[in-house]
């Protein structure tokens, strides 16, 4: 789908709202919530680029996140390098893992890729416990330095990274590359019969997906100032997939919206204290039932159609 003027207007408006939100709401607590939401936005968009477009669901995106975050942790805490190196190292390590997982599994049809990613992340989570003398075990690595000091500065840097991620991924998704990825989702055999090297496109897309997940992981690690085994957890991968579904799969911008919405919703629902998860789950069920295409992307398509 071509990018129209209205899409740029929407993107700039969304950016302005996100930029103004911490100024309007003020507290450092809110800045923290929003920074985390933006990291999830990067993760959701990067998941969507590979899995949303090709339809090969990745149930272990946390493998790339954990790998990137621990790379940041080791460089910064163990080796004392500047936190800025993490922005390079985290995506590189994540891409290394994507090659490791993608080559054997993406050449096969069937559920191997989804299962391998799921178990790959689980294995890495356990390895962080087993090698606790290096990884800090359950406590993880502590004492990471922030990238930028006032948290607001780091928030704006994260926002810039998210905007860049969205721009790059959307640009590729709208290029012939994206057409091929959507064709792979439609029918792999037909794609091969059309002369397309399906395996190449799947692996390369997973590498791109992992690279951006790694960037998000570095930003997250240097905001939380701590990395732990939970960053490899299956539940993290599942949460990202839920955000993508709520946002609208295959649209790149939708999942970012879904990530921000669900992170903010979680905070808003704190007022419900012990009923929080009940309400959260009910909202999700409502969305899946009545808006199976998601919330953000279909809504935007409607706005587009009206303004056309």
């Amino acid at each position: 789908m071509a990018i129209l003027l209205i899409d740029w207007v929407g993107a700039v408006l969304a950016l302005l709202v996100l930029a103004a939100a911490p100024l309007a709401l003020g507290s450092s607590y809110i800045i923290g919530v929003l920074t985390v939401a933006l990291c999830f936005g990067i993760w959701a968009a990067s998941w969507d680029f590979m899995s949303g477009l090709t339809g090969r669901e990745n149930f272990g995106h946390s493998l790339f996140i954990g790998a990137g975050a621990y790379a940041a942790g080791f460089l910064n805490v163990t080796f004392g390098l500047s936190p800025w190196w993490s922005l390079l190292a985290a995506p590189l390590v994540a891409v290394f893992f994507s090659i490791l997982m993608g080559f054997p599994t993406l050449r096969l049809k069937g559920p191997y890729f989804a299962l391998a990613m799921l178990s790959g992340a689980a294995v890495m989570q356990n390895l962080t416990i087993i090698f606790s003398e290096y990884t800090g075990g359950q406590d993880g690595l502590n004492g990471l330095e922030p990238l930028l000091d006032p948290p607001l500065a780091q928030y704006y840097f994260t926002l810039a990274c998210l905007a860049l991620t969205a721009l790059v991924l959307k640009f590729i998704a709208n290029s012939p590359w994206g057409t091929i990825l959507r064709a792979i989702r439609g029918d792999e055999a037909s794609c091969q019969a059309a002369g397309i090297n399906v395996t190449f496109y799947k692996i390369a897309s997973l590498m791109i997906s992992a690279a951006f997940a790694g960037v998000g992981a570095a930003l997250y690690a240097h905001y939380q100032l701590q990395v732990g085994p939970d960053l490899f957890a299956v539940v993290l991968s599942i949460n990202i997939i839920i955000m993508v579904y709520v946002g609208g799969m295959g649209s790149i911008y939708g999942p970012i919206g879904g990530a921000v919405l669900l992170n903010v919703l979680t905070e808003v629902l704190r007022g419900f204290s012990e009923y929080r998860l009940w309400v959260y789950t009910l909202v999700l069920i409502f969305i899946v039932f009545f808006m199976p295409q998601g919330l953000v992307a279909p809504l935007w398509r409607r706005i587009r159609a009206v303004t056309r």
Binding site: A183, D187, A193, G195, I196
Partner: protein
């Protein structure tokens, strides 16, 4: 004239089933050849072997003077050998034009003009120009067949393999499609290998027929000779002819 496709002793076994056995034939450039045989004769398997979707056990396949054994399907397409599928397999959720555009992105043809314009031109050629912006999901079956052909043509093949292009089409749709295939053969100087059940369309289209049964080639020759060949009558027509006496003609067999 040297053959465009040279197949020698091609064999494939699936467990206990010899799907294709010692198949040999060659195709001269610019010809339309048919592959005839009852269900399970190994016709589609033969196509899958030639196009790299299934690896063969033994034998050799030479295309345009070079072996294409053990090449991946997309590599074979980029050598100039394309196929359609027996059941149309469009890219759901995409428009008709995007469906063809994907094939315009194959390395072999990527630099021949903009994919978008090429896709549109190909759609005009197969008579789908007006439906280019429709979602493929709502396309009627007859149009899907044309789309399959447009997508295969987009890769600029020298040899086009059509797997039952008339399957599932109504009577009024068959002749226009046959005419399309004939006109493509002329205008694109294509060599075509075509699997078909419906003998009437076959007889008009093809200059030579490869008759198969139980994975083996039982006869090769012009269509008029093939339909009278004893092995073909026995394998393909014989049993059906017996059924026909009990039951009025159906399918293409009635055309015999």
């Amino acid at each position: 004239m040297t053959a465009l496709l040279n197949v020698r002793d091609l064999s494939k076994r699936f467990g206990g089933l010899q799907a294709v056995k010692d198949v040999s034939f060659s195709l001269a450039p610019g010809t339309i050849t048919g592959v005839l045989g009852p269900n399970g004769a190994g016709k589609t398997t033969l196509f899958n072997l030639l196009t790299g979707f299934i690896g063969f056990d033994s034998g050799s396949v030479e295309f345009d003077g070079r072996s294409i054994a053990r090449l991946a399907p997309h590599q074979i397409v980029n050598r100039g050998l394309s196929r359609t599928f027996q059941l149309a397999r469009p890219f759901m959720g995409m428009t008709v034009r995007e469906n063809v555009e994907v094939a315009c992105l194959a390395p072999r043809v990527r630099h021949r003009g903009t994919p978008r314009a090429r896709a549109q031109a190909l759609l005009e050629q197969v008579g789908l120009g007006a439906k280019a912006e429709q979602l493929v999901d709502v396309l009627p079956y007859g149009d899907l067949r044309r789309l399959e052909i447009a997508r295969a043509l987009a890769t600029n093949p020298q040899l086009l393999l059509l797997d039952e292009p008339f399957a599932g089409l109504g009577g009024s749709e068959i002749e226009p499609l046959a005419n399309l295939i004939k006109s493509l053969h002329r205008s694109e100087r294509l060599t075509i290998l075509i699997i078909e059940h419906k003998l009437r369309e076959f007889m008009q289209l093809v200059s030579e027929v490869i008759a198969m049964d139980f994975g083996e080639v039982v006869a090769i020759g012009p269509p008029a000779m093939i339909v009278r060949h004893p092995r073909v009558v026995e394998a393909y027509i014989g049993t059906a002819a017996i059924e026909r006496t009990a039951q009025p003609a159906e399918d293409g067999l009635g055309a015999l």
